[in-house]
């Protein structure tokens, strides 16, 4: 499989996970999908947040620094 195909196959399942968990927290509301376009963050911002859960320090020297523009782009 090419990279994009793998990404799409993983992303769609992760979105199902997000949906069911949101519904456990706030049942039968719009929380399962609060908007039509998902937000997007840059890898750098995600990595910064992920660092909070990782004991060793991440090094980001080769991380992409720009990101596709689109609806709800917050990166």
């Amino acid at each position: 499989m090419n990279n994009l195909l793998v990404a799409g196959k993983i992303v769609s399942v992760e979105a199902r996970h997000a949906s069911v968990i949101a519904d456990l927290l706030t049942p039968k509301t719009s929380a399962f999908a609060p908007q039509a376009f998902e937000n997007a963050f840059s890898v750098g911002k995600v990595a910064t947040a992920a660092q909070g859960f990782i004991v060793d320090k991440l090094a980001f020297s080769n991380a992409p620094t720009t990101f596709i523009q689109g609806p709800n782009n917050n990166g």
């Binding site: 994009l4 793998v6 992303v11 609060p34 911002k45 910064t48 004991v55 992409p64 709800n72 917050n74």
Partner: protein
């Protein structure tokens, strides 16, 4: 994208690197999770985790050739995030009395998916001639932002709040 060896990151460094606008957005988001997690600014920062789909977005960009990224680095980062999720659910499912019994099938399913994602990403990396990074050590208290969180019985709401942080495909701009 690599782990540097045994150099704990300070929380202040994490905070300094956060965009203030993101912190503000998370503060709103934090209201949404107040039922489950104790309120600290460090927690709101920690919950900025946008998760795997964001990293994978860079793969799509690479495919389109708009700004060639190091695909191996992106895959390693996606693997890191899948490790994080896989360990989180594995520990949660294994903890007696944490997850409500009626909800258990949901979380065993998610756990299995995350482990499968780990294997798939490892396979992609190996296929590109790279060695998958090993699983790092995780701190699910978010370095003290969730003091006392140990996957123990009675901590289900905190577990759910963390699960939401890990699964969301981005930080949502909740309209206060």
């Amino acid at each position: 994208m690599h782990l540097t060896s045994a150099t704990p990151a300070s929380e202040s460094t994490i905070q300094d690197e956060m965009d203030p606008a993101i912190i503000e957005r998370l503060a709103t988001r934090h209201e949404e999770i107040r039922r489950g997690a104790s309120a600290t600014s460090k927690l709101t920062a920690a919950l900025a985790l946008g998760s795997v789909p964001i990293a994978l977005g860079a793969l799509a960009r690479d495919v389109y050739g708009q700004a060639p990224a190091d695909v191996v680095d992106v895959l390693q980062f996606a693997l890191l995030l899948e490790y994080l999720e896989a360990e989180f659910y594995t520990r949660g499912v294994a903890s007696s009395g944490l997850i409500a019994a009626a909800d258990m099938p949901i979380f065993t399913t998610i756990r299995d998916h995350e482990n499968t994602h780990v294997m798939a990403l490892k396979g992609l990396l190996t296929g590109k001639g790279a060695s998958p990074d090993p699983k790092p050590d995780f701190d699910f208290t978010a370095k003290g932002a969730l003091p006392g969180f140990t996957f123990a019985a009675g901590q289900y709401q905190t577990f759910l709040a963390l699960a939401q942080a890990f699964e969301d495909t981005g930080v949502r701009a909740y309209k206060g």
